[in-house]
Amino acid sequence: MDVTIPESLSEALKEELFGEETPLAEIERRLDQYFAVEPGVTRASLMNLAIYTEDPETLPADDESLNQITHDHACRALLLGIVPHEENLSVRCWIKARCQLGPDGKGKLCSEQVTFLLGGDCQSCLTNLVFSHLRSDLPLVMWWRGELSNHFQESLYTMIDRLILDSSRWVDPAPQFAKIAQAVNARTGRLSDRRGQLLVHDLAYTRGHQHRRAVALLFDPPAAREYLPVIDRIEIVHAAGHRHTALYLGAWMTRQLGADLVSKHRGYFFYQRTGGAQLTLALVEIANPARSGFVTAIVLEGGGGRFEVGTLIDSPLLEIRSRFGAHQTASVLPGPSEGDEDLISEILMRGGSNSLLAQVIPRVTAML
């Protein structure tokens, strides 16, 4: 069962980018063989990490993503490429080890990678492939590239412990968010070790992590917190293509301030706070921002106080400034990670339940 290789991948295969081509049934044995003959090698694994794509042309880039992520997170990596429109059920696979010097400069520390290229209508075959090539007792993290297709079905997502996706790349987000909600509320798969709900990480939300930290820092001083009840205007300035991150930030801030959406109009969202006060959220998109970053400014105002998060010119740092009463402060903190791989690395490092995202998603869908 041979899959038709897209022309764009032939060069990568010639250079053995994905390693040694291996018959499907031989994968585990050949990996064992490799590690058996290599002296001083540690076969390290903290998790199963799968990247799924229905655009096989991105596989070389996905391979590079795994290269970056496995540098910090030893894992059994699965690269799953689906060839669309293939008539016959077909599969090809490759194996390789990703090694780096151990922390003491001696020995090698290796992650292992299995790359699958699948063709045909292979819904159940995909699930079975994932099932049969997981390292046992370790969590399954899946980075789903692109839209959630009909391959995203219950038998698969109930196996996943952590699902990573990027809503900013979706053409039509509303039905995608509905699929996510369905997956989150599905009962745990019978073979899964996870307790509770599927953990979802949206990179569009994760990109705003440092901005959320910055906003939280602004209101750590007790005197600043006295202005929270009178905040009546929030403005978020974002670069083109990053509306989702801005939506998430707006949804998060208004939720934490206890404000409910009443109406919306052309980038303006009108909220009513507990107690009846009004709050306006404005999202301003700039095509070519003078400053770097996908969200270049956040301003919260009210009661004469002004609290700002901004990016510095030619610097990756975020700057926070506040002015309230007789107080003025300015400080910097690390800027957000830009690359998807860095964001995923942060997600894997932080772990946790990420439960706030699940509470924010309904607010974002209401803003769409």
């Binding site: 939280a216 001083p221 400080s331």
Partner: protein
């Protein structure tokens, strides 16, 4: 009102902006540890905005000179490297205040400086006084803080003090220091820093014990034969440290604080909750339960002290202790100590805890090993095999992690068994390097979380235990002898005998 934006964003107490006032600002601790720790917190975005640092010391120095010195050292030692742009912003929050530690005028000037800074700061006038000076000045600094009124919290802010070890040199001096501290700052605002507790692996001890189901049921005298705590160093008295060390010795310098803290963490009962006092209540029960040595003979039977002779370490010939720089040639101070400790409580009845700490040993390592009892001598255990006991090791430094030794069948037609090891290493499992202990501890002090700091009663009970040994060594008519060992070895034969008398041996490291 709580900060709603903190909800679910972090799972720890929030540090509050404050002025960190460091006494002893020109010293090594400030340059090598405290300022790089604060810089790294700023780099991570964990330092609360509006925080400031004031260095206090006796030398004449401008703000710029002080910052330049700190910058040079930060370039060399910062865990996360040195970013010039970030340093400039961080350094702008640092100022220098010249004052003698006994000079009331200097403290008035300090109070004025703090008041000026607080007037433009973002919030409450929070002040964290860090005693990083030589310990002989602690009393003076605390007295002057009280006399100048700087110890008083103002306008809803707080005033806290961080005290570096040594917390006294015996029980009497510790009690006196504690009395002075508590007369100045209340106990709940006092943070006695023990940097061992800020290490990731030390914090992990409680997680290993209480977040896993498989360890705690075995964590008692029914299954554990004995426990070993080892802290070995290859260093001797380089860099002029002999002057201080010869007045302290291994027992007071390391055992009284770091090692007894580790002991209390591994031996304590599960706390009722994870509050600072919930944990410290249980730790202090362990220290109170240490069986005290009744006389010099008991000390002689359970404690070995030793000095190293010349030898070689990593191919380098090194001097003996008595020939070291700033060491009294007739010194009776011990750079090595080994103890057999018993904990008289229900859980640990009959389980000896062997502890050893020494300079100029074969390698640098700090670890705790739990040696389990042998399984019943039937079935496989009738067969001859070495290393039959399971051993669980918690490695504190370096190579932080843990391992479990167990027996496994050798491949082949016959039943032959060999010990195998399951190993977990922080460095290979988690991509992110552990923060420095001082980073965590400074942040905790700013957040008012005293969990990883020693409480007054812990310190005083530890000194009670230590004083019995010191008195037997230095005040009894028949003091136990001072053993000797060759530098670069694993310590004196007498320390090996301490275990061999019980049918045990030190773990080979």
């Amino acid at each position: 009102m709580d900060n709603p934006f903190r909800e679910l964003l972090v799972s720890r107490s929030s540090p509050e902006p404050c002025s960190v006032v460091i006494f002893g600002a020109t010293g090594d601790l400030t340059h090598r540890k405290l300022i790089p720790a604060l810089y790294n917190l700023a780099k991570e975005g964990d330092l609360p905005p509006g925080s400031r640092v004031i260095g206090v010391a006796r030398r004449e120095k401008s703000n710029e000179e002080f910052r330049d010195e700190l910058r040079e050292m930060n370039r060399k030692v910062s865990r996360q490297g040195h970013d010039e742009a970030l340093w400039d912003r961080f350094a702008a929050t640092i100022s220098y205040h010249k004052s003698e530690f006994r000079d009331p005028e200097g403290y008035r000037g300090l109070a004025d400086l703090l008041d000026q800074q607080d007037a433009t700061g973002p919030g409450k006038p929070n002040r964290l006084f860090y005693l990083a000076s030589a310990p002989e000045f602690f009393d003076d600094i605390l007295d002057q803080l009280r006399e100048s009124g700087l110890n008083q919290s103002r306008e809803g802010g707080w005033a806290r003090v961080v005290v570096e070890k040594p917390f006294g040199t015996d029980l009497a001096t510790a009690q006196r220091l504690n009395a002075v501290v508590n007369a100045t700052i209340p106990e709940h605002e006092t943070y006695r820093i023990d940097h061992y507790l800020g290490k990731e692996t030390a914090q992990n001890i409680m997680v290993i014990r209480f977040a896993n189901a498989i360890f705690e049921p075995l964590w008692n005298s029914r299954y554990i034969d004995h426990v070993q705590i080892t802290c070995s160093e290859t260093l001797g008295m380089e860099g002029g440290r002999g002057g201080y060390y010869d007045t302290a010795g291994a027992l007071r310098d390391m055992v009284q604080n770091h090692l007894l803290q580790l002991l209390s963490l591994i031996a304590m009962e599960p706390p009722a909750d994870l509050t600072a006092d919930g944990i410290r209540d249980e730790k202090v029960k362990v220290i109170k339960s240490l069986r005290r040595y009744s006389d010099a003979r008991a000390v002689s039977e359970n404690v070995v002290r030793a000095q190293y002779k010349s030898g070689s370490i990593l191919g380098q010939t090194v001097k003996g202790y008595l020939e070291e720089d700033r060491i009294n040639p007739r010194s009776m101070t011990e750079p090595y100590v080994a103890l057999r400790i018993n904990i008289d409580n229900w859980r640990w009845e009959g389980v000896p805890f062997y502890m050893r700490m020494g300079k100029r040993l074969a390698k640098k390592v700090t670890e705790i090993s739990f040696h389990f009892k042998e399984p019943p001598g039937v079935l496989f255990n009738r067969l001859p095999v070495t290393a039959r006991k399971n051993v669980l090791v918690l490695r504190i430094q370096p190579d932080e992690g843990m391992s479990l030794r167990m027996l496994s069948k050798l491949p082949g037609p016959s039943i032959r068994m060999e010990p195998v090891k399951m190993d977990f290493q922080y460095s290979t499992s988690f991509g992110k390097p552990s923060p420095e202990a001082y980073e965590r501890l400074l942040l905790d002090a700013m957040a008012g979380d005293a969990t990883l700091f020693a409480r007054r009663d812990e310190v005083e009970h530890a000194w009670r235990f230590i004083d019995d040994i010191e008195n037997a060594w230095h005040k009894s008519s028949s003091p136990p002898p001072m053993a000797q060992y060759e530098a670069g070895t694993w310590g004196p034969e007498e320390a090996d005998n301490l275990l061999s008398r019980d049918g045990r041996t030190w773990r080979r490291l």
